[in-house]
Each structure stands twice: as C-alpha cells, then as structure tokens.
C-alpha cells in the first residue's frame, strides 16, 4: 500500500514539474500536461496514427530480431573463447561509444531511404549492447558447467543449447531489456531522418510545424509503451530468478 502511494507521489511530482516547466517555457517549447493528454487521446482515435505506429512496430520487430540474433550469436561466440573476448570487448565498447549520429550519413548512403535504413538504425543501436551482455553472461558462467558438459561428452550444440543458454539466461535478459529500448530508439531516429512514415516521422513533421502537443503526445505514448514493456521484462526476470 505504501509502495503504491509512493509511486503515485512520484508521478504527481513529475506532472507538477512538467506543468511548472510549461508555465516557464511556454507554448513554443512545451505542451502542458493537459494539452498533451488531450492531443494523445485525439491521436489514438485517428487511423493515420495507428498506420504510423504499425510501420514503426514492424520495423522495430525486424530490427529487434536481427539485433537479438546477431548480438547473442556474437556475444556467445566471443564469450566462449577467453582470448577473443578480451580482444573484442574494447573494440565493441569503442564502437558503441561513437555517437551513432555521425554514422548516419553512412547508413543512409548504404541503405537509401526507407525501411531498410530504419531497420539498420535499429540494429546499429541494439546489437552491440546485447552482444556485450551476452559475452559477459558467458564469462560469468561457472566453469564447472563446461567441465561437466565435457565429462558427459556432450556435443557442442548440446552444450550450447542445454547448458550454456539456460545458465546465461538471467544476465542475457538484462541485455535484451536494454537492447529492446535502444533498438526502438534507433528505429525512431531512423524514421526521423529517413522516412515519411512511422512515429519518428510524426515527430519530425510536428517539429517542422512547431506542433509541440503532437510531439509530446507521441513521446508520452512511447513512454507508456516502454513502461509496459519494462514491466513485462521485470516479470520475466522474476520468473527466471532462481
């Protein structure tokens, strides 16, 4: 009960801060909480919003699938060989720290405008964190598991699927959780630069028109989505917790 009260208080504080900021900054910079919610309710009832949301969703799922497959594959492969992991980690981290914005021209030149660029952006943002988490998950695995697998004379595939994967699952899920957010961000950014469809495009469009209410309504929608997804990951986390 106290817990819920605390959460409510935090929310109330955030909304109060928001309103205050609006009063200071004005319509050109922000929309008030009321205006934002109103716009969002309006928006959710339009067909075009959902068309755009579907665009984004589709690109996001593609990007997520690729980021997961690539990230887990890469991370596990590197994690299994100690030398490879030590060599690769700084490279991965440096690649990740590059402001991806500077690589956008390269992506656009390679993929053109359209959905493949969006997916590329998404993968670009999500793959490396997932790989790093997967790699560390493997390195933290108890060595005795691998020794057991050798004594039981399992094939590499059996070792990978029946021992390694379950052993690293909690750590891996943390990485996927982060990769999820980042991939979504990547896809949105891709839409802002390289597309005439999708939620990212809605934002850019609204920015051009100075329509703060729409921008914030979309942001609110995305935040709500992120919170729900996060909640699901939390439950998943609790389920795999042993």
């Amino acid at each position: 009960m106290r817990q819920h009260l605390a959460t409510l208080l935090v929310f109330a504080a955030l909304i109060a801060a928001w309103q205050l900021l609006y009063l200071i900054a004005g319509d050109v910079a922000l929309a008030s909480p009321v205006a934002t919610v109103r716009r969002m309710v309006e928006m959710l009832q339009t067909r075009s919003f959902w068309d755009n949301a579907r665009e984004t969703g589709y690109a996001f799922l593609c990007a997520l699938a690729l980021a997961l497959a690539g990230g887990v594959g890469l991370g596990v492969a590197l994690g299994l060989r100690r030398l490879a992991a030590v060599v690769a980690e700084p490279i991965l981290i440096t690649l990740y720290s590059i402001p991806k914005v500077t690589l956008y021209p390269l992506v656009l030149l390679t993929f053109g405008l359209g959905i493949s660029a969006k997916v590329a952006f998404g993968v670009m943002h999500g793959l490396i964190p997932i790989a790093i988490f997967a790699m560390n998950a493997i390195r933290q695995m108890k060595p005795v598991y691998l020794r057991s697998s050798r004594v039981l004379r399992l094939t590499s595939l059996q070792t990978a699927t029946s021992i390694v994967l379950p052993a690293i699952l909690p750590e891996l899920l943390s990485g996927v959780r982060i990769g999820f957010s980042l991939t979504l961000l990547g896809v949105l950014i891709g839409e802002m630069f390289a597309s005439r469809h999708g939620l990212g495009f809605l934002i850019t469009n609204a920015m051009g028109l100075g329509d703060m209410a729409t921008i914030m309504a979309v942001a609110l929608f995305l935040t709500a989505f992120a919170l729900v997804a996060n909640g699901m990951f939390s439950s998943l986390n609790r389920m795999t917790h042993r």
Partner: protein, 249 residues
C-alpha cells in the same frame, strides 16, 4: 602492450586494410564510402588548416562540461534514491525505460530556458548522461559488502569518514563504470544535438558536409570523432583496470 592488445591492433589494422581495398577496387562505391587513407589525408589537411579548430574545441569543451555536471548530479541523486527504498522502487521502472524516449525532442525546452547555443546543448547532453550515472551509483552502493560497513562501525568511525574512507573506495569500480558511460553519453548527446539543431561544433560540421555532398570532409570529421572516442576510451580503460583489479579475488 599485452598480447591481447597486439591481436586487437592486428584485427583493427586488418579490418581497415580490407575496407581500403574494397574502396579502392570500387566494390564499395566512392559515393558511399571513401578509402580510409583518403579520410586520413583529408583529416590531416583540415587540422593543419585550422578552420575547424574552433568547432572541435567547442565540441570537446561542451562534452567535458556535460560529463562533469552529469556525474555530479547523477552521483548526488543516486545517493539520495539509494537512501530511500520506497522512492527507489517507484523510480526504478522510469529509470529503466528512460533510454527508450528520444530525449533530444526536449531541445526546444532548453532553448527557451537557456537560450540558443552551448548551454542548451550541454543541458541535453547532461539529460542523456545523468541516468546512466544514477543507475551506476545505485548499483555501486548496493554492492558495497555489508561486512565492510560493519567493520567501520566496530572502528567507531563517523558517518562522513565511513562514507569517504570505506564506502567510496568500495563502490569506486562501479561508480567509474558510470563515469565511463556518462562520458560516452555526453559525447553522443553533444554531437547529436549539434548535428540536428545547431550552428557550430563537430556535429554541425558533419551535418553541413553531408547536406552539401562534401563527402571527403564529412568522412574526415567522422574519422576524427572515431579516433577521439577510441583514445578517450583507452585512457578510461586503463584507469578502470586499476580499479577493477581490486575486485578480483
């Protein structure tokens, strides 16, 4: 350099070599990517020419400032949140979802509050970096072994001395991870802001070059960003290793 370092260098050199080859033979068209050697040559001439120095300095200065502010605020907020479990439980989902929202859409707010220019850019960068530091601070304080705090109490150390002499060193490796992330995010935040919504700085120059089809200049500057990031990371890594070795049993 360790053997891993040599192998890493070899891998990077090999990769660059392959890209160079692919560009020179035309398998990667020049409209998409220019050979790395060309990028380097252009970069050298730009640096010698000196016309970019102002922009470069502005970017780095902003990034450093943003880092310092983000680390300070993140650390302070992290301590506060850690001390109040109820607050923490309510705030944690928000912190976890934070990086899903493209925070630079709030740029207009900062323009209004701080005016156009460096301050707004720094504000965005701080906004991006601060949550990473908060999370790292929370994590670091969590991981201080309780037995160390008990030891401090047996020594009857004051709260302040316990915090400075026991808790801070114990949490340092994790806090430093937060600093590393803050540096990365601050850099990303500054350059992204300059790219999209500014009139000066490295990010802006890259965007300008892209829009004007000045591929050579664009790639040279991208190379500069890449090299700077690599250098900064190496330095941070060295410090990090010193700290991490304390954790190894």
């Amino acid at each position: 350099m360790t053997s891993a370092g040599w192998i890493r260098t070899a891998v990077v050199v090999a990769f660059v070599g392959v890209v160079e080859l692919l560009c020179r033979t035309g398998l990667i068209p020049n409209t998409v990517l220019i050979p790395p050697s060309e990028m380097a040559r252009e970069l050298v001439s730009i640096l010698e020419g000196g016309e970019m120095t102002g922009d470069i300095a502005a970017t780095f200065r902003n990034a450093v400032l943003a880092t310092v502010i983000a680390v300070a605020i993140g650390f302070a907020v992290g301590i506060v949140i850690q001390a109040m479990p109820a607050l923490r439980r309510s705030v944690e989902p928000l912190l976890a979802s934070y990086y899903s929202v493209p925070t630079f859409i709030f740029y207009p707010v900062f323009i209004v509050l701080f005016g156009v220019g460096d301050r707004a850019i720094i504000a965005i960068a701080v906004l991006l970096a601060v949550v990473a530091m908060i999370t790292a601070t929370l994590n670091g304080i969590d991981r201080i072994p309780p037995v160390l705090k008990k030891t401090a109490r047996i020594y009857r150390m004051s709260r302040v001395r316990t915090a400075l002499l026991v808790e801070l060193p114990a949490a340092a490796p994790y806090l430093f991870t937060g600093v590393k992330l803050s540096v990365a995010y601050a850099f990303i935040g500054v350059i992204a802001s300059e790219f999209i919504l500014s009139g000066s700085g490295l990010g802006y120059e890259i965007a300008y070059a892209y829009n004007n089809f000045e591929n050579r200049k664009m790639y040279a500057l991208m190379l500069l960003v890449l090299l700077s990031v690599a250098l900064i990371n190496s330095v941070l890594d060295v410090i990090d290793n010193r700290l991490q070795s304390r954790l190894r049993r």
